[in-house]
């Protein structure tokens, strides 16, 4: 099988390393951007060299971003080449279009590497879906934010101190917002829910909040109450309705999810006959993500790839509900947006007020956090 790589960064570097050991698979072209990095004959600066090469069976896309990734993917599918991608942003934005183009051209569109890094999450979600309807899924799907939350919990440090360490270790980017504000998790949540529910889920319909506002005092409160805070993607389906949200949650400290350490990820599903299944592993990194891409390549080559089908039409509804922990920092306006109706308990804290709410919806809480950006909110599980 002849393969072209779009990009040659961490992920495609991992793919290249792994494929070197598998003689059936040849990387025959690599698209790069920087002419100074052209160190191999097979490297090209021009995507047309790949699009027009009839000997290429499969294109791996890992350039990231929406454009020209979308155009390259569509052009590759239309040139009857299978596409394997690690680019969660472009898949979350144009999933339905890609699946339709693959079907029309009789080729495969594979997305294992977009969600959960080395965890065989998408494949197992699809396999479970051969028998069961997956009615709910959740998970810790971002290594950076889990590294930060784990270190805050185990070392008692404050958010920005831990973020700095994560940046020094290469676990967090110079601009960490995609990881800590939930954008990255939201893309993965949309992709996972789309596959699980057989219906393209609009990524923009998923409410999202991150961990930027969590402070040492919140972690202390968790510890005192036998809880651990994690950033979760959650999606549920009920009949022809679904719901999905990305937000911090409060878990009993003696649960599997609460004990996912460092930059590891966990993904969980529920199916009627199989029950609960949880998958844990490296959520990012060149070799784990490269491994996920190569698994997709082997599945395409051996005819064991599962098709993605969007044959259901679901409507977004308020299915996910819960009680919330709200930390409203002193000197902010957050307090005035909380109506008396929602408050179950009010706890004065050294730097503001903690409110435990009655059961409510993410939408109600996001109304508040949209107005006062410094509030930290987490749903009790």
């Amino acid at each position: 099988m002849n393969i072209a790589l779009l990009g040659f960064g961490v992920v495609c570097g991992g793919v290249y390393e792994i494929l070197k050991k598998l003689p059936e698979y040849n990387v025959t072209k690599i698209l790069i951007r920087n002419p100074a990095k052209k160190t191999m004959d097979c490297m090209t600066l021009d995507f047309a060299d790949i699009e027009n090469d009839n000997d290429i069976d499969l294109v791996v896309e890992a350039i990231g971003g929406l454009h020209p990734a979308r155009e390259y993917i569509l052009a590759s599918l239309n040139a009857k080449k299978h596409v394997v991608t690690a680019n969660k942003a472009v898949v979350a934005a144009y999933f339905e279009e890609f699946v339709a183009a693959a079907k029309e051209n009789g080729v495969k569109f594979m997305v294992e590497a977009t969600s959960g890094g080395g965890i065989p999450w998408i494949k197992n979600l699809q396999r479970v879906g051969r028998i069961d309807e997956v009615t709910s899924l959740h998970g810790i799907m971002n290594g950076t934010s889990n590294f930060i939350l784990s270190a805050m919990t185990s070392e008692g440090k404050d958010f920005y101190d831990v973020l700095k360490v994560a940046q020094e270790l290469g676990y967090a980017e110079a601009d960490p917002s995609a990881d800590i504000d939930g954008d990255d998790v939201r893309n993965k949540c949309a992709i996972s829910a789309s596959i699980a529910f057989g219906c393209p889920v609009d990524v923009n319909s998923i409410l999202q909040s991150g961990i930027r506002n969590i402070s040492k005092s919140d972690i202390d409160w968790c510890r005192e109450n036998g809880l651990v805070c994690k950033l979760f993607a959650t999606a549920k389906r009920c009949g022809d309705k679904f719901d999905a949200v990305v937000e911090p949650v409060m878990l009993d400290c003696y649960t599997v999810e609460a004990n996912v350490p460092k930059n590891y990820n966990i993904t969980c599903l529920y199916g009627e006959t199989i029950g609960e299944v949880k998958l844990y592993g490296q959520g990012a990194g060149g070799l784990p993500t490269g491994n996920a891409i190569v698994q997709d390549i082997i599945d395409v080559n051996t005819g064991s790839a599962c098709d993605i089908t969007f044959d259901k039409k679901l409507e977004k509804a308020e299915i996910i509900k819960g009680r919330y922990y709200l930390h409203i920092p002193a000197g902010t306006d957050g307090y005035k947006y909380i109506t008396g109706d929602i408050t179950e308990k009010e706890i004065p804290s050294e730097n503001g007020t903690v409110i435990i709410t009655k059961e409510t919806t993410p939408a109600e809480i996001h109304k508040l956090t949209d107005k006062e950006k410094s509030v930290f909110a987490a749903r009790f599980i």
Copy 2:
């Protein structure tokens, strides 16, 4: 696809329920033992009715035990029928023979349901093996013993009180020895290691100890030291040598494995490029195990079944090592078998003596526990 079921107990009952919803798959014959239970026309008391039926493509074996299960499996394979089995005892005993017979007859031999119930363990082990060498695996692979250990930990009860509850709830058999003494886990360990290492592992070469001797005082000691006790299967490979053992282990209470609750299972592997992967789910039960069987059936029918190949020859060696917790009950002889060399620390306990050993091998510890059957031993992880 036409399917015959051997047995119609909990597991095949689950398979039958699940297959009813999949129109491509027809159960055309069911082998039962008790003529009084012949409630459907497709039921037969005579295996020859299945063996000689050329319309049957695949046989599901879930009658348990070594004989006649072995003969039925071999006869089915020799009659060019694929075989899917949930019978860990017969696979652990005759794995190499079954794999050879399947290969000779050009049919598939599938064992997902033997290990880990509904957890897609075998499939993922095989998929990881397409790219990586799996160099180590471990797991909690018996729901009954995990239920007992979890309840002892959370409720502070003694072993036999919890066992009684487990029996009343149907989580433990009237004769619980296969579950609590490690036989069941040992079979699963042999099957998992054989697939992971590409070499049939002799089940009798795996040292085994269970949880029968654990007492409330051991659990109390764990809690005081931030530890949790679990029954583990462990297998490691190093070059052309391997090691495997089934025994209780002591884990930090803030680890994923330590927090596997009730009768759930977890299976873990390590591969070079994928890193650590852990899979959690229902380790037993009619529907989860039935689900695993149906996944195997679908894989055979869609041509996506992985072949089991035993192309390596590995030698057993002492690779697994660790420090041990030994509880020698008062009034027993265990003490005299411990040499001074091995002792790191001696702690008087209310009902005997606790010894923490220096690093040693399972073989050294099993020499002791073979001589004095009342000793409880667990390896620190």
